[in-house]
Amino acid sequence: MQQNRNALKVAMVAVLTAVVVVFTLVVRIPTAKGYLNLCDVAICFIAFTFGPWSAFIAAGLGTALADLISGYAQWAPISFVVHGVEGLLIALIVRQKGNEAVSFVRKLLAGLVCIATVSLGYFALSALFISTVSVAAAEIPGNIAQSGVGFVLGLGVASAVKKAYPPVRSLSW
């Protein structure tokens, strides 16, 4: 009997997208862009625990939906691209077979890529489509802080979840 994994993939991506949405909307600190939130924690967790595709779709779709729900519709396509790429790149950098721990160098690289993608991505796309270069530049520090903290927390949460719920290792895409 052929193992058809379609249902599992759909279920995984749907639940992970919902997780990203909840993490984005649950803690909010209002700023000019919208709000500082925990979405990067969720995205990094998914990137570390699941594979590149899940991370890409869940991160992109999740943040886009969160933007739509909270009325910042204009950022939805931008969030989709920026966070989707963020999830994809981090997952690709830390991906490996087997259960050994990821080397510190890779984690550092992933962290830098995370911060760079989010801050530069939002900067470039906001400046092009929403506001001016200066307004977009003003958001960079906030984005750096949010993504950096999110990455570190995501690392901690990912290792905690793997230990607390071992079956998660069999879920990956």
Binding site: L8, A164, P166
Partner: protein, 492 residues
């Protein structure tokens, strides 16, 4: 779909002569995959079971002995989604389950899960019923008539477009039953279907099972009065096999397996608390927490008088939706109240201070479990206090694990449900609160296990408020009882 698969489906749809059994299990053995060093114990060994088409069967099994796993194996989703090693052959209407995918069983075999949340896949009640019908490829008129009939039959008509998250436990069960009725498969597997339903719906379910020529298998962990006279056959899951002794013998063996024949753990406990603390509520009025946007009017919770002392065991009974949870959340400081007093030893408390005196054990034990081993989980709270030494922490944790029957190196995520409940209680025991509120402890546990947990929690002389909607359980506890209805609390 390859030729062999379409043959199987068509043979499922019209198997007539000779009549194979609806379900035929031979020499089944199953063990869950273990993610830790310790191997899991096998759930079934050489289990065989035959169910004839058109028969109504009851399978009794004590909690946590693999009843739900067996149901999932019958539907073909285990071990696909719940990894483990399976041996043996299972045939549904003559076709080997190993050659089928779960979706091919849609019109053949319906499974109603014990936990409705597990089976929900749609945004609203109507869509939940429509999804499987869409999978069957039915025309719109046909779908509409089936859905209307099913919703009407189960009293869900006015809840048609509401989100499933807003429904009560009983309503959710009814949604699953309505979906099963709309799909109209030949073989129904009902896992604890009578459980959350009110009497009226239990009677309706009983009637629906009894009539018609459907094959029905009901799995249950408690023998309910509704089962009398309903079933052709009664089976018992005993020692990893299915047996079918005569009814009297079966029932007595079943109660033995549930440890009902053991002495009530509380009967022999004499509780003398070191200090006597008093928790008193007077003239409490609070706004009831809104459960959903469907409610017409939110009512208030009125508590003229409520008292709990150290060492006491008090029960609070009431139907679903009467305000039990709202009251307990107020009592432990999670929610606020409009007027009145909650006094602990004479001082009025609220909010965080009240939380430090009254512990609240949620019905779902997984809400608090997040660490890799039992040892970590138990020592976490103790380590955060700065006044305890390592040795002292270790001693307390070991004593507590001993008391509750837990092994320190176990992984909570893969422990069985009764053990996770015991772990939850153990965590709170170490917090050493003077009072505990236990929310629906008896659901999914044998009476014996639940009572043992209560006895262990009372070890240090804590006062306990037990919330339940099962009056049988409340009778076994037999101390002061309060009853709550539509928000009004009164002592019985």
């Amino acid at each position: 779909m390859g030729p062999s698969q379409s043959d199987s489906t068509s043979s499922l749809a019209k198997s007539r002569v000779p009549m194979p059994n609806a379900l035929s299990i031979e020499h089944l053995s199953f063990t869950y995959h273990s993610y830790v060093q310790k191997q899991c114990e096998s759930l079934f060994e050489n289990l065989s079971l035959q169910i004839e088409e058109g028969s109504k069967t009851l399978l009794l099994a004590p909690f946590d002995k693999g009843k739900t796993t067996l149901a999932k194996i019958m539907c073909g989703v285990c071990p696909k989604y719940f990894p483990g090693t399976l041996e043996g052959t299972i045939r549904v209407f003559g076709t080997d389950l190993a050659t089928l995918e779960p979706w091919q069983l849609l019109s053949v075999c319906s499974y109603v899960s014990q936990n409705p949340q597990e089976q929900f896949i749609a945004n609203s009640v109507e869509e939940e019923l429509a999804f499987p019908l869409e999978s069957l490829g039915l025309g719109r008129e046909e779908m509409r008539s089936r859905i209307d009939a099913a919703l009407q039959h189960w009293g869900l008509d006015r809840l048609r477009t509401s989100s499933e998250q807003e429904l009560s436990g009983g309503e959710r069960k009814r949604v699953l039953l309505a979906a099963t009725e709309a799909i109209d498969a030949r073989f129904w597997i009902l896992d604890e279907a009578f459980d959350d339903l009110d009497q009226r719906w239990r009677d309706q379910l009983k009637e629906m099972i009894g009539k018609g020529n459907k094959t029905v298998l009901v799995l249950a962990s408690r023998y309910l009065a509704e089962f009398d006279g309903l079933f052709d056959r009664m089976l018992l899951l005993d020692d990893k096999k299915v047996v079918s002794p005569p009814q009297q013998q079966l029932l007595s063996r079943f109660s033995q397996l549930c440890q009902d024949d053991l002495a009530n753990p509380l009967a022999s406990q004499v509780c003398t608390p070191p200090d006597v603390r008093q928790l008193v509520c007077t003239d409490l009025v609070a706004e009831r927490r809104r459960m959903s946007t469907l409610e017409e009017a939110s009512f208030k919770v009125h508590v003229p008088h409520f008292s709990l002392q150290s060492g006491e065991l008090v029960t609070l009974v009431g139907p679903n939706g009467s305000g039990k949870s709202s009251f307990s959340r107020i009592l432990c400081g999670l929610d606020g109240y409009l007027s009145g007093f909650i006094k602990f030893d004479g001082t009025s408390l609220s909010g965080k201070e009240l939380s430090k005196k009254v512990g609240y054990l949620f019905q779902n034990p997984d809400l608090q479990i997040f660490l890799p081993t039992v040892n970590d989980e138990l020592s976490w709270s103790l380590r955060r206090r700065r006044d305890l030494k390592q040795e002292e922490i270790r001693r307390r944790v070991a004593a507590c694990a001993d008391l509750f029957g837990l092994s320190l190196s176990d992984t909570p995520a893969t422990m069985s449900y009764p053990l996770r409940k015991a772990l939850q209680a153990a965590v709170y025991y170490l917090l050493d609160r003077p009072f505990y509120i236990l929310d629906e402890l008896d659901s999914a546990l044998t009476y014996h296990t639940a009572l043992s947990i209560i006895r262990d929690l009372r070890q240090n002389g804590a006062g306990i408020l037990l919330i339940t909607h099962d009056r049988q359980f409340a009778k076994r506890v037999q101390q002061r009882t309060y009853s709550i209805e539509k928000g009004r609390l009164c002592e019985l």
